[in-house]
Symmetry: C2
Subunit: 363 residues, 2 copies
C-alpha cells in the first residue's frame, strides 16, 4: 500500500480484471472477495499498531444478476481508471459516477453515487492501491499547514518550493489532494499540532505559537480529509515529530482524534497509510472542563449515546479514554476548544497548551 | 464603509458609546436605532446597484430591563473591541461570546452566541465599520485562488509576495480572513470565474483553464465566506475584470450566485463592501439541463419551495431568472456542475464554458 508508480497501480488493476478472465477460463463463476466492513470485523494489528479488517469477508459473485452487474461495473471502472492513469489524468468520485452515463452499456452505469463510491473502496482493498494512486480526487481538498517547514510539491505545472511560514499568507499552505506529491526538504519543528477548528487554528497563528514552540500547526477542519491525515502521518513518520491532536471536548471530536490516530471503520484498509497511532490527545479533555472551569454546554441525548457507543468501540478501550468518557457522562457537560477564551485570548498559548504538553512529556 | 484605519474604527465605536452618554446627559432614555433586517425591508439602491436596507428601523432602548441589558452588553463589547484595536489583536465571534464570561458584570455576559453575533452585526450597521475592521475573524476562512495574479499580502509577520500560479501548490492561494490586507501587484487576467464546488475547481485547474483562458479561478466552497466575496468584489472593481459565477443548477446554488452578486439579507448593510452586482451567472442553468441533456435528479419538495420563494425575492426578479426558474419548475429537474462529466472530463473546459462565455459576450 505504498505510493507506488502509476504504472504499478495500473498493473494491479488490470490483474484484477485478468483474474475474472481466469475464473471464466477455469469454468468458475467470477467473483471478488472483500473484507466485511463493519465494526465487529476490525481487529488490532499488533505490528502496525492500528486497527485493520479482520478475517470475515463478503463475496461479490456473478451467481446472481445483481452480483454479475456489480462485477460488470467493476470491469468498466477498471478500464476507466487504467486509461486515466495512462493519460496522467485524474477525476473525482462524483465525476466517475456521472461519467458512467457515457459508457456504451446501460447495465454498467451506476445507479447512484453510493454505488460508485463503494466500488472504488472495494477496488482499493482488493488491489491494495489507494484511491489517490488511482488518481481519484476527493470532492473537498485537505486543509492548511503553518509552521517551520520547507517542502517541495510536485505539481502538474512543475515543482514548487514553499516554506510554510515564509512563503505563505496568513491562511497558510493549502494541502494538495494527494500529499504524496510533497517532499519535506528542511524543518526546525519539534511538534505537529493538529487542530480541529478554524477559529483555534487562527488563534494559534495570531499568537505565534508555531514560531515560539517550533510547531507545525495542521488545521483539521472538522473531520479531517484523507489528504490531511496522510500528511500528518508523513510528518510523524518521516520527520520523527510527535503529533498532538487538539479538538473540542465532545464525543464527535474524540472521533476526529480517533480517525487521525487509529483510522476509521470505513477506511480500515488504509490505516497503515493514513493513521498515526502514536498521535496523542491533548484536549479538550473532560478533566480540563473540571480543572480549568471552562464554560460548558449540557450533553444532548445524542452526545450521551455517542459517548456510550465509544465505550464499546475497540479504538477507545484504553484506560485514558474510559476514564475521560466516564467522567464526561458523570459531569454531563461538554466544552469547545475556543471556550478557553473565557480566561483571555492568550490563555490557550501561554498556559493551557504549555501545561498540558509538559504533563504529556511532549515539550 | 471603507477599509479605514484601526484608529478610525476605534473612534467610531467610541462615538457610539459617547452617544449613550449624551443621551443620559440630555435626560433621554439611551437607545440605538438599527434598520429592520427582514426581506420586506431590503430595497434596491439605484446608485450602488445593490440591495440595501430600507427605511424601517427597530429601536434597542433601555426603557425595559431586557433593552437596558442589550445596551449594557453593547458598551462592554465596544470596550473590548476598542482594546483589541489598540493592541492590534483580533478574535473570532465565538471567542467574543466566551470572553464575555470573564467580564466583571454578570449582566453584561452573553446568554448564547446568537446574541453576541447579532450585537456585532448591529454595531457594524450603526458604526458603518465592517466586522473585519473591528478585527473580528470568522470561524472558517475564505477559500482559494488560482490564476495569473501577483499579489502582496500584509501579514503579522511581514509582507508576502505571492503569484497565484507560480508560488503556490495545486491547492492554490489561501484567501486570508481579511482580504483587505492584500494589494494586487500585477496580472494577466481576462476573467474571474467563481466556482461553487471543490471537484469542479480541481477539474478547471487540472485542465489548465486558468492558463488557457487567463482566468482567476476563485473557489467559493459552497456558500462563500465574506472574505471570498470581498476578494471577488475587489478583483472586479480594482482590476476591472468581469466576474462569472459557476454553480450547480439548483435553487440553493442560485442563492450562492445571489450572495456574490447582490449580497444577502443578513448582510445587506455590507452590500457595497461585499457584493459584485456586475457578476453574471454562467450556469448550470435549467436551460443547460435541456440543451446539453445533462444527467439530472428530480426536484424535492424543498427545492420547489425554494424556487417559488426565489420568484418572490426582489434579487431574482429579472427576466433571466424568472424564465430560468419557471423552466426548472416545469421540467422538475436539477443538475450538478460535475454532471457535465457525463460528456467526458474535458467537456466543461473545451465546450461548455467557452460556448457559454461566448454567448454571454464575456470571452
Amino acid at each position: 500500500m505504498s505510493a507506488g508508480s502509476d504504472q504499478e497501480a495500473r498493473e494491479r488493476l488490470i490483474d484484477l480484471a485478468a483474474e475474472f478472465y481466469d475464473q471464466f477460463d477455469r469454468g468458475t463463476i467470477p467473483h471478488m472477495e472483500v473484507p466485511t466492513r463493519t465494526k465487529s470485523n476490525i481487529v488490532f494489528d499488533e505490528d502496525a499498531d492500528v486497527w485493520v479488517y479482520g478475517d470475515r469477508t463478503s463475496t461479490r459473485s456473478a451467481n446472481s444478476v445483481r452480483g454479475a452487474q456489480k462485477l460488470l461495473k467493476a470491469v468498466y471502472t477498471i478500464d476507466f481508471l487504467s486509461d486515466q492513469l495512462e493519460q496522467d489524468r485524474s477525476s473525482t468520485l462524483r465525476e466517475l459516477y456521472y461519467l458512467s452515463e457515457s459508457w456504451d452499456l446501460n447495465e454498467a452505469q451506476f445507479n447512484d453515487q453510493d454505488e460508485s463510491n463503494q466500488l472504488i473502496e472495494d477496488l482499493e482493498i482488493v488491489s491494495e492501491v489507494t484511491r489517490e494512486d488511482f488518481h481519484m480526487r476527493p470532492e473537498e481538498s485537505g486543509a492548511t499547514v503553518m509552521g517551520p517547514l520547507l517542502l517541495r510539491e510536485q505539481t502538474r505545472r512543475g515543482e514548487r518550493e514553499i516554506h510554510c511560514q515564509e512563503d505563505v499568507g496568513e491562511g497558510g499552505y493549502q494541502i494538495p489532494n494527494n500529499p504524496d506529491t510533497i517532499d519535506f526538504l528542511e524543518n526546525d519543528a519539534e511538534l505537529v499540532l493538529a487542530v480541529e477548528t478554524g477559529g483555534m487554528r487562527d488563534r494559534l497563528v495570531e499568537n505565534g505559537f508555531d514560531e515560539e514552540w517550533d510547531t507545525v500547526v495542521v488545521h483539521l477542519k472538522g473531520q479531517p480529509a484523507r489528504a490531511t491525515r496522510r500528511l500528518t502521518k508523513r510528518l510523524h513518520d518521516e520527520l520523527d515529530l510527535p503529533v498532538v491532536v487538539f479538538t473540542d471536548g465532545d464525543p464527535w471530536s474524540y472521533r476526529i482524534y480517533g480517525s487521525v490516530a487509529y483510522g476509521s471503520i470505513k477506511s480500515a484498509h488504509l490505516s497503515e497509510y493514513l493513521a498515526t497511532p502514536e498521535a496523542e490527545f491533548v484536549g479538550i479533555r473532560p478533566q480540563d472542563i473540571v480543572d480549568y472551569e471552562l464554560p460548558t454546554d449540557p450533553l444532548s441525548d445524542s452526545d450521551v449515546n455517542a459517548l456510550e457507543s465509544e465505550l464499546e468501540d475497540p479504538r477507545f478501550q484504553t484506560e485514558f479514554w474510559e476514564e475521560q468518557i466516564e467522567l464526561q457522562l458523570d459531569i454531563e457537560k461538554k466544552s469547545e476548544q475556543q471556550s478557553l477564551a473565557a480566561r483571555g485570548l492568550d490563555f490557550v498559548t501561554d498556559t493551557y497548551l504549555p501545561e498540558r504538553l509538559d504533563e504529556m512529556d511532549v515539550l
